[in-house]
Amino acid sequence: MTTLVEGEAEDTAIPRSAPVIATTGLTKRFRSGQVAVDHIDLTVERGAVYGFLGPNGSGKTTTIRMLLGLIRPTDGAVSLLGDPVPGNEAHALAKVGALVEGPAFHPYLSGWANLRRLDRMDETADPATHEERLSNALARVGLTAAANKKFRQYSLGMKQRLGIAAALLQPRELLVLDEPTNGLDPQGTREVRHLIRELSDDGLTVFVSSHLLAEVEQICTHVGIMSVGKLVTQGTLDDLRRGGTTIVTVTTPATELARKTFATLGLADAAVSGDEVHASLGSIEPEAVTVALVNAGVPVRGLAVSKPALEDLFVEITGEGFDVAR
């Protein structure tokens, strides 16, 4: 049976602190001449939930295919769990569960038979625990009742879940999930988020791509943002947000007085909309704003400090709207 070693792994020459994924100058130019991925340097630390974000067509899936050894880079290098890809991907991939560009299974086989197929093809799968692992993986994604249904009869959400179950057939160090919530309803999306959190709590590193920023920012510790083949920024979510604009909003009937107070404090971009006044917080502490408003005699009904959403950050970084970036 696959041995689980706590603390130190006997076969890993690399230190535990080495990145789980590291690419240097990773580039893919397709035969058409299109540069899908343009010299990106990804670093995914162990234990991170890394949100790999970007609009459709920004090169996320091509990058993921290179990480998994499915396509060869034109230039640059990939290190996956310390192994070079291409080169020693078979060694690394045994520790990686992946969902790439949507689930794909044999339509005329049941969910169970499809998982059995993948597990039987896995040299590192222990035949003695085969059925147990299949049942567990199906249970994890809530497909136990549909195990014997043909894949063709699955709903889009069930197909997606079967794909995640396949990634969980074996103990993993890294999960690569390409758009895992595609086709899921809000409830299904919540379940996937919950599952990712659980797996992360167990020590797995999760690399999750999405074109829906709001959906992923709730679970990520780290973020990398792609735009037109380039990795425009990456870092911890907190660092990234620190670089963005925090907005302070006060709700008051005395909007003009509040606006003047904001201006006096030196807050930029103060503007009135309805009974709200908002401005960029900058380096000023929110409590200082509260004190200033009260001292100025502004009747405060509510005060909110909102960190920038990833979507706003994206617009700030790339200078364009998220949906139109191509």
């Binding site: 041995t3 295919r65 499915l70 794909a104 339509p107 040299e123 590192t124 797996l199 167990d202």
Partner: protein, 291 residues
């Protein structure tokens, strides 16, 4: 189930388990033979000897030397086992290449089109190993196809025309047991005759994501080979055509089989397997899987 059991603490040491190749091969065979389409295909092949047998029963040929119809047809009424030889001869030029084309197309191009190829490679299954497993799958199905035709032909032939003594080409009569043994030899030989085309089918399958195209390509290759073989002016290249010796299996039921020609043929098939198999590996081991 607790998560910690399944996943540990983020560190995994994978280990290969004994008998992995056996499990992979069984999985592949289950995939090939579990597909209803493929079983229907075997059923359709079984209908061919039945049809020939019934036709000969209803309207027997004039006897040895009649000249009409495929080789061995005139001998079926003497010994039902000859129906096996007639059926194999009839199917070798078209039906068996179609079968090899279809199953070969499924092997890599079919998995690519379904998207399952990227998940197999992600398991991971090493690419060379996957090709080997796929080749075994196609070869096993080809054996099943040849055997289906032979077994149905033998049962139909013997029940319609009886078995009795077996007269070799050349006139000598041997025991039914030896006759059966020689027919079995023909079955194996016909199966091995398909190996070159099988390797070509696998190669074409790695070149496309469209199974239909792979099927057509493989069948086209076989037809081209048959056509070139029929043009006397191209005599110089005949010996290198994959189908050139396909119809030579009759020598196995001669009084003195021409072992030289049998060996040349098997070497030719081996050469095709080596070249097409090598090209398939060279292509597939480095191919971008974008499906």
């Amino acid at each position: 189930m607790s998560l910690a059991e399944a996943v540990g603490h983020g560190v995994v040491v994978p280990r290969r388990h004994r008998g992995a190749l056996g499990r992979q091969l069984r999985s592949e065979l289950r995939l090939v033979f579990g597909r209803r389409r493929n079983l229907i295909l075997l059923g359709a092949l079984a209908a061919i000897p039945l049809a020939i047998g019934l036709a000969v029963k209803v309207s027997p040929p004039g006897g040895p030397g009649d000249g009409g119809g495929p080789q061995f047809l005139d001998r079926i009424t003497g010994n039902g086992l000859f129906l096996v030889l007639t059926a194999l001869l009839v199917t070798l030029n078209l039906f068996l290449p179609v079968v090899v084309g279809i199953i070969g197309a499924d092997s890599v191009a079919g998995e690519a089109q379904a998207g399952t190829l990227r998940y197999l490679l992600g398991v991971p299954v090493r690419r060379g190993r996957l090709l080997l497993v796929k080749a075994v799958g196609i070869a096993t199905y080809a054996l099943a196809a040849v055997s289906t035709i032979a077994i149905v032909a033998a049962i139909a032939g013997v029940s319609l025309f009886g078995a009795g003594s077996f007269t070799l080409l050349g006139g000598q009569t041997v025991s039914p047991g030896e006759g059966l043994l020689r027919v079995l030899g023909v079955l194996i030989y016909v199966w091995l005759s398909l190996f070159g085309l099988l390797a070509v089918g696998l190669l074409i399958s790695t070149l496309t994501e469209v199974p239909m195209g792979a099927m057509a390509g493989t069948l086209g290759f076989a037809v081209l080979s048959l056509v070139l073989d029929s043009i006397p002016q191209l005599h110089a290249i005949h010996g290198a055509l994959v189908s050139h010796y396909w119809r030579t299996f009759g020598t196995l039921i001669r009084v003195g089989p021409d072992y030289g020609s049998l060996a040349r043929h098997l070497l030719l098939q081996l050469a095709y397997v080596g070249i097409a198999g090598g090209l398939a590996w060279a292509r597939f081991s480095d191919a971008d899987v974008t499906s």
